[in-house]
Symmetry: C2
Subunit: 433 residues, 2 copies
């Protein structure tokens, strides 16, 4: 079922005309209402009237995490705070989070994108959708929640954890749709099997995957475990949240809601725009966001776009699965973590050096992070108990900063590698490519 047939199957020429109109309006509003854009565009000597065709978007400077940080918290808002109905944030590179603000209409736009996605997955008003994404400042949970309200499914907002209760509820409530990160999904399936319940018998019709990088092998495994198709959902808090792109039944790339997000692919080094089917960094623009229009945001996510018409009948461009990052962010259990956050957490603790190494593994089905930290030379331990106390303190400081529990290992002073130039702080041993 196509949620918004008129928009989603619009001939590309009409779609591009619509995009241009919305882009022009967005750039004009940003220039007139948001001093940050006004200054940035004036300095670059580019003005709203310079946008005469879609390709003219390339004249506009990019927005990066640095811009979002500089304008923290509300410097990119185009409306008065009394019009803002909800605030979310994602972790930023320097400890200051990146803020996302929503008007009532924005919340509806957000719900619309997810409603389209749920419809692609075959989820509608007769379904019961168990949402294991976390709620809170993270946009994963709420995006799905609002979209579910819109298509009229019954949402179970259970969020992550309490795995056995999740399985009980799936059985008792007759859950037909599941939303999870691939690694949590596999964990859920394995716990069910451990308890003698075959997940294939649970009657799941469709699964929505999000908030984590994954491989086709993982998809296959999840589909086998639950006997249901698993669909990719992509999005990011800076632009709104999940729903930028969702896979249709063809499972050949994620349809970008192109009347709401304008996608580009650039070479992350030269910053030149690339053509269809060329892999590069995804750049996104909000085309109808009231509260906080973000124009040409560098996502750092690597993918490619195809504009060929899809077997499902939708005309909106498809992006392929994200296969990497053009920076050092790692995403674990749906949470984005930057090495700088670990650094900040360590600097709060007196007795350790800011030398550390982050090792990400996936020993079973769940991601694990180990942080190796150098003890300070003037730190002496009176035994295991002292060492436990300090590793515990480090662990708590990191959890407070990132929201993620990690394994902390103290190592000898000066035993970790030193770097000239850019430090390589992360060893990602998960096979994601």
């Amino acid at each position: 079922m196509i949620w918004n047939e008129e928009i989603e199957t619009m001939p590309r020429q009409d779609l591009e005309e619509l995009q241009l109109k919305k882009l022009q309006a967005t750039v004009k509003r940003a220039f007139n209402e948001i001093p940050y854009y006004n200054k940035k565009y004036s300095e670059a000597e580019v003005y709203p009237e310079d946008i005469e065709c879609l390709n003219d978007i390339q004249k506009l400077p990019f927005i990066t995490k640095d811009d979002l940080r500089e304008s923290y918290p509300f410097g990119l808002f185009a409306v008065d705070m009394s019009k803002i109905k909800e605030l979310h944030s994602s972790s930023g590179t320097t400890g200051k989070p990146v803020v996302s603000g929503y008007t009532e209409k924005d919340l509806d736009t957000w719900a619309e994108t997810i409603a389209r996605g749920l419809s692609m997955m075959g989820i509608g008003e007769n379904d019961i959708l168990q949402n294991t994404h976390g709620y809170g400042m993270f946009t994963g949970g709420f995006g799905v929640h609002y979209g579910s309200h819109k298509v009229g499914a019954a949402i179970i907002p259970i969020s992550t954890g309490q795995t056995r209760r999740q399985i009980e509820i799936m059985q008792d409530f007759g859950t037909t749709g599941l939303i999870f990160t691939p690694s949590y999904g596999i964990h859920l399936g394995e716990i069910a099997l451990e308890d003698g319940i075959d997940p294939k018998t649970l009657g799941i019709k469709a699964i929505g995957f999000g908030a984590e990088m994954w491989t086709e092998e993982i998809r296959q495994r999840v589909e086998e475990i639950f006997g249901a198709k698993a669909y990719n959902i992509y999005g990011l808090t800076e632009l709104m949240g999940p729903g930028v792109g969702v896979e249709c039944i063809e499972q050949k790339g994620l349809h970008i809601a192109e009347d709401i997000y304008y996608p580009e692919i650039i070479d992350p080094n030269t910053l030149e725009n690339l053509g269809p089917n060329q892999k590069g960094e995804l750049v996104l623009t909000n085309l109808q966001r009231e509260g906080m229009p973000v124009i040409r945001f560098r996502t750092k996510d690597l993918t490619k776009l195809t504009y060929e018409k899809c077997g499902c009948g939708r005309t909106h461009a498809r992006m392929s699965r994200i296969t990497g990052r053009s920076d050092d962010m790692i995403k674990v259990k749906g949470v984005a973590i930057f090495p700088s956050q670990i650094e900040k957490a360590l600097l709060r603790i007196g007795d350790v050096e800011p030398h550390y190494l982050i090792i990400v593994t996936r020993p079973g089905t769940l991601d694990e992070i180990e942080v190796k930290v150098e003890a300070s030379q003037n730190l002496f331990f009176d035994g295991v108990k002292d060492m436990m106390a300090i590793t515990d303190k480090i662990g708590k400081s990191i959890e407070n900063e990132t929201g993620i529990r990690v394994k902390v290992t103290l190592v000898e002073p000066k035993s970790l590698p030193r770097f000239e130039g850019k430090a390589k702080r992360v060893i990602d041993e998960r096979d994601l490519h």
Copy 2:
């Protein structure tokens, strides 16, 4: 500001007429659409046409947790599942949770009750409301969330935890309203003070308290710490969620949204109805719930009602602060826990006896639960490591069952008291009365 002036200041006679009309419609719908009620009422030989005045409600049998359990999961729903838009649940007495289902209109009714409450607290569209209640199956977070959308405040759905980040956000976003459990609020305040930030300087205008029992001393302490008034919010998942009653600026009892919930007070032993200002068990009836009308629900919460007109101008009855329970439920960190859940968790573990004692304390500002468990006689430990492993296993099983982390202490076989008749499993050392 009064959110719904017409309804909230309605002369009592008009209000009672409205209540009667809604009660009659609710009983009729329940009888006609829900087999469970039809059977129960038929057996009691009471029929919709017997409700001729409000006092006739006393002819109807009570609904208890047992009824909710028997009709688990959807046996009290009055509509087709395709009309249900959201599902919540609270923990039940036997491990099977109690389910609450909402149609679109119900979600709006729920938001309406909280919108009235937030208005009582002086929170409106110019405010920024930081909601530290958990989201998920628990209704605390979502009730506040929907109410905030309705009054047009900007909600920060941060949920519990990451306390230092909470404080950073209060400072950076300019939070003007806070929602927390009293114990988390005090913890928040103390962490701020530890970091050299006086919570009084944060510009908080109002605080909403919920999901926990508290004393006037705790209120005073919270108000002193934050330099803002703290208001009580009451509700329960079975009836909808928070919003059944909220305190107005007079802080002399919680106004019950009487056009939406019909309150009675009964003697928990004789089950006779009591008059105004007499302390007993609160019984509540949904007056306009589509999805799952609950009629004469025994809350087990002890309070009293006054119908005197309030200084704020509202005519709706006020209930006094809950001072106890007529059963053995304990509420810790906003989560309701029954001894039977601990029992269920222990029975899953092989090496322990189902003899246990639950000790609830509030050593600092946060509630703590210790569970003492008898080791099985055929359990031998090869040292501390083994013992750690089994206590760890017990702790995880309890956490999985209740959602709460507890301290587990293994004690010698046969060292805990045995009971004749009803076991006393809970020692609540918090001073709540």
